[in-house]
Symmetry: C2
Subunit: 686 residues, 2 copies
């Protein structure tokens, strides 16, 4: 081999090597630029880090936390304990350099570079916030063989595609304790999200302690609210992780909680306003869109709101304040002659114009506190200041075109963020979210317009979500969404994502995320603390009902209903169902005995599993509701096995009947996620 | 059958029925008086409760929480939502009557009666705190068949044997976040404990925010401390559950954290006191008994302590304040000529006299705040006021007779509580704790002296415990200890306890206790998110090293070491080991093929399991440390199987060698809990 060949060979093999390593890296979000190199950095107890430059103090805490996480995974007993500003160690293997202090907020420089070689790791960032991202990337790079932990040698240069990468948590429908918010902030940071949108007020509760207006928590929180110290503490916690907190007080609709405390500013018509007493409104216990709405014609409405904002705004140092504004149907306005008179006097034709009037009254209240208003798309009107951020949320479910208001907003000179496509309460699959781009493919945008699309937010509405299972509703799907926000993949490849996802999702456990552990807790309760094997297996075939089909009309469940049911344990992307559907596809691609056997092994297991569930159910009433579904699956399995193995006659009617029963959504608020594969098998066997 | 016979028969069968029902009731602590009756109260969605009398508001919150817990277990969608004082429903099925408001504290009336019949449940209590206990008992009574939940008809009349039923949590060695404390308060209430002893200060950290002396948290907490609002919030939370909080600031030893902030009151000798700078002391990172001690000769010591107590006392409304006082070895005093001079001048012969002088200076500081002093047994001296409570803790491990100081205290007219026997950090079995009575069997006590024995406390020292696994160290063993404190069984029957325990332990999950779920989290990390079956199985054979044999000398682990290791997942009373040892005993009682087979099935499984662990370890470095132990067990299993099934020659030396290897405590900080059974089998096969 001559030199030229040798070089080509080396280059070629290096390239293959790089490809392989790159494919095995479980990085999410995928970095903007990454080059893998041969070799690795081995971690031993002497591993230490050093911070230079002029960083915000958050980096020292984060670096200490990084060491503890690394040590927790590796069990290496790293010698370095706490990192403080006074520690300096130019010999440390991991060198972190930040040029300047970062400020949380969407316009900060979050870029970083990460260079791993055999002997050293170098993180370079303009701000410490970039360095935080680099540390998360580094943790994701951790690999091992049988007795060593190491980082593969790589060069990464990374920065986000979108400035606003948010997660909204609704704490009004079901209150979420401080630790739930905190652990989710940690998880957000792990996937480089930077905005926590805190939906603090809705029909079902007011969750902010106000010193000047104690009635709000006394009458409209059931005792579940955040004290101002807790709010400050959470903001501080978020800031230490590079995340800005955007509070939301939803007005003028979704106002039952506010009106429970201040019925006098409600739109219900009373001939004598003094009749507008506490009994006019009470905290909503159901889910849905409700009538109670603030009275836009009443000066007192603005006085009270202004005073509330005066107390709430200073609690939140961030630049943005979300005023809601969604789903005001205006029914209470239509029914109130005083408001109708006001509307007429002002020359408003529509309730939207009336709402716009209302919204415009709020503008100076926030200008005073130097806040930019964010609001759901309904707040848009031509008089709103251009500093407003329009939160686009409507789509097919609301009879709109997905993202239409997003484009409309930037065309009108507003900044905007998108949540349509990222409604994680709808129980849609990773695939559905991941294939939902922020910027519609066919959108024709100027550079300026493109810049005004700030990013997006996953929205965790909590009607059907408690502190026990909220993590399993947010994660892992929000990991996929986070990649859209940071990397904005032009040709999203979900199968590639799914290879990287399990590791990132599993590691959220280290941050206290309960998406795995609490599923088991719910199942143990359902099984009455008998062996959960069969129940857990069945839960991997089922998914909770989707897109508002659970709790249809909002009246089956109250906010205090038990959310300890089978549907509450099940998750989207049911793992065993995915396996089955995949096995069916393999079989249909290549019909042979091996592929058939892998399909029929599921049928065998489903028969056995049903028998076990029946036995379990004898001492577990909460299993009863799922038996009909399990039985249908078992019967269909039996029938298919008879056809396949014993040449039983193919009975179209009977098979379809059985399949329809498997496809039922009448039991236990779940659906069998294997019906697609089953349908294909039935067709195939015909 | 004539009437007389019929009556006898009915009586007889009722009696049998009652016995059976009584045995199946998983009540812990077992009530003072209980009568079971035929029949049951069936629970349906209309189930509701009503509160009458003059109770403290805590009962409404507790009753609401009771409904939610009941609903969570049954999934019945109970219609009653929130219970408030204004709700009144004389037709409610569950009637709760409280005569008067309860005050948390150890002298409150905690008695209750609970009467369950087909159509009604009646709880009667002097105070709402008794009613809280009744609600916990009622939840423990919940039973079910295949599709119904019910309470069995019973009559219970109950009250505690001891007034002080405590759990101590050390938050200095490893800080425990607010939610850890809260969920453990819930669990305490579930088993009728009433004192949370909060060990807030030790060598490894100061955990209380002081507004007047910020240096303490700035310099001696690593940022991990409770704000005053959090402290108040926790006290409120405890009070709502009938639990009083007793803070501890440990002085004059265990003072490294205090001295890190205030080196000038330390006992280290410097010719020039101004040399006593911050560098003299720094937060301790190891475990053990350390030299740093407050200077009893320095007036400034008392000035600073007095000011600290002036700020801390008002935070805690309870009557008791724990001043520690333990393990002051006086080494720093011996080495300091100024202190020696002071000692001589005061005419003290021993360091204990000098410590007594110190302690007596503290008495007025607490009298001022109307607090009774509690302290570890070392604080006892004849000049302490009789209001002092002596906390007896020493026993065999400290070269003392267990409970000696308890008897000594009451003989000297002091009140006392016992913790010797309840050191749950020692990793001893339920049996060992349960067979450890508060009052020594042979103690001869007057009525007054008996009354002065207030109760006991389980102590959760946290050197080797983090927020992730603390629950599995406290529970379920503290359930057994709680029964000692409440019921004081005269002839404790551990096998009876063990029948009742699983259900009570499992149900702690409902309160957020993580003793089951977090074990799985730790194992998943160790297994590197591969299938944990083999690892989990092996963890059920192993127990963490006991009685100070893990981290011998206190230097192997730092407070920031990884506690994510196999030993941290393992628990006392390893379940599979108990099964094996039981199977061996059965076999030795009755040597027959069936009983032999049940023993050898373990050997087969251990061989298989080892192979699986080896495979797992190829991608999980954290499994490596346990392989030698697993291998030894596999080899011994193989050898025993060869002898039993293949008549291999019995090789005493080889078998003993193998057994010794299984009995090793050199690997992964665990011990194989099956060695007792193995030893017996080896002896038997000889």
């Amino acid at each position: 081999m001559n030199l030229k060949h040798a070089i080509i060979f080396v280059f070629f093999s290096l390239n293959i090597y790089s490809q392989t390593v790159k494919q095995s890296l479980s990085l999410i979000p995928w970095p903007k630029e990454i080059q893998t190199k041969q070799g690795f950095f081995k971690i031993n107890p002497e591993f230490s880090l050093n911070i230079t430059g002029n960083a915000h103090p958050r980096i020292y805490k984060a670096a200490t936390h990084f060491l503890r996480r690394l040590d927790g995974r590796t069990g290496l007993f790293l010698k370095q304990g706490f990192i403080t500003k006074s520690d300096e160690d130019s010999n440390a293997q991991l060198q972190i350099h930040c040029q300047r202090k970062g400020e949380v907020g969407i316009y900060e420089d979050e870029s970083y570079s990460l260079e791993i070689n055999e002997k050293s790791i170098i993180i370079d960032a303009v701000t410490d916030i970039g360095a935080l991202h680099a540390l998360e990337t580094l943790l994701q790079l951790l690999q091992n063989n049988s007795d060593t932990f190491f980082f593969p040698n790589v060069s990464i240069s990374d920065k986000p595609e979108f400035k606003w990468r948010g997660l909204m948590i609704d704490v009004a429908r079901h209150f979420q304790p401080v630790e739930v918010i905190k652990r989710n902030i940690d998880a957000m940071a792990a996937v480089k999200l930077n905005v926590l949108h805190w939906h603090l007020v809705d029909d079902q509760g007011w969750r902010i302690e106000l010193k000047n207006r104690k009635k709000l928590t006394e009458l409209a929180s059931d005792g579940y609210y955040y004290t101002q110290e807790e709010i400050k503490n959470i903001i501080q916690y978020a800031s230490e992780r590079g995340i800005v907190v955007v509070p939301e007080i939803d007005v003028p609709g979704h106002a039952t909680a506010i009106l429970t405390a201040y019925p006098e500013i409600g739109s219900n018509y009373k001939k004598n306003p003094s009749e507008q007493t506490a009994s006019s409104y009470s905290i909503e216990r159901n889910a849905g869109v409700f009538r109670p709405t603030l009275d836009p014609s009443n000066p007192n409405t603005y006085k009270i709101l202004s005073e509330i904002f005066d107390e709430v705004c200073p609690l939140f140092p961030g630049k943005y304040f979300h005023i809601g504004g969604d789903e005001n149907e205006g029914k209470a306005w239509d029914d109130n002659p005083v408001i109708q008179e006001f509307k007429k006097k002002k020359g408003f034709q529509t309730n939207h114009e009336l709402q716009s009037y209302f919204t415009l009254q709020l503008v100076p209240m926030f200008k005073k506190h130097d806040k930019d208003i964010v609001g759901w798309e309904e707040i848009m009107n031509e008089k709103m200041p251009k500093s407003t951020i329009i939160h686009s949320w409507k789509g097919a479910n609301e009879g709109s075109t997905a993202g239409a208001s997003l484009i409309n907003a930037v065309k009108n000179g507003y900044r905007t963020i998108l949540s349509n496509g990222f409604y994680i309460d709808l129980m849609q699959s990773i695939n559905e979210h991941y294939m939902s781009p922020i910027i519609p493919k066919n959108a024709k945008l100027t550079t300026k317009e493109r810049e005004h699309i700030l990013g997006g937010e996953a929205t965790m509405w909590s009607e059907l979500v408690t502190a026990q299972n909220i993590d399993s509703r947010i994660w892992p799907r929000t990991i996929a969404i986070a990649e859209l926000f940071w990397s904005n993949p032009q040709n999203p490849d979900v199968s590639n994502l799914l290879q990287r996802l399990p590791s990132v999702s599993n590691r959220l456990e280290e941050l206290g995320i309960t998406h795995i552990r609490n599923k088991e807790v719910i199942l143990r309760n359902i099984a009455n603390y008998q062996n959960t094997f069969a129940l857990e297996y069945f839960s991997k075939l089922c998914e909770p009902l989707k897109i508002y089909t659970r709790n249809k009309g909002g009246t089956e469940y109250h906010m205090y209903s038990p959310f300890t049911l089978f549907a509450d344990a099940c998750t989207v992307d049911a793992s065993e169902a995915l396996q089955f559907n995949w096995a069916v596809n393999q079989y249909l691609k290549e019909i042979n005995p091996t592929n058939l056997a892998s399909v029929t092994s599921f049928f065998e297991q489903w028969k056995t599993n049903h028998k076990e569930l029946v036995v379990l159910s004898e001492n577990a009433p909460l299993i009863q509701p799922i038996l009909p579904l399990s039985e249908s699956l078992s019967l269909l399995s039996e029938e298919l096995l008879q056809i396949i193995h014993h040449n039983k006659e193919y009975d179209t009617v009977y098979l379809n009947q059985l399949w329809e029963k498997c496809n039922s959504k009448e039991y236990a608020d779940v659906e069998l996620a294997v019906v697609i594969g089953l349908k294909k098998m039935i067709e195939n066997l015909k």
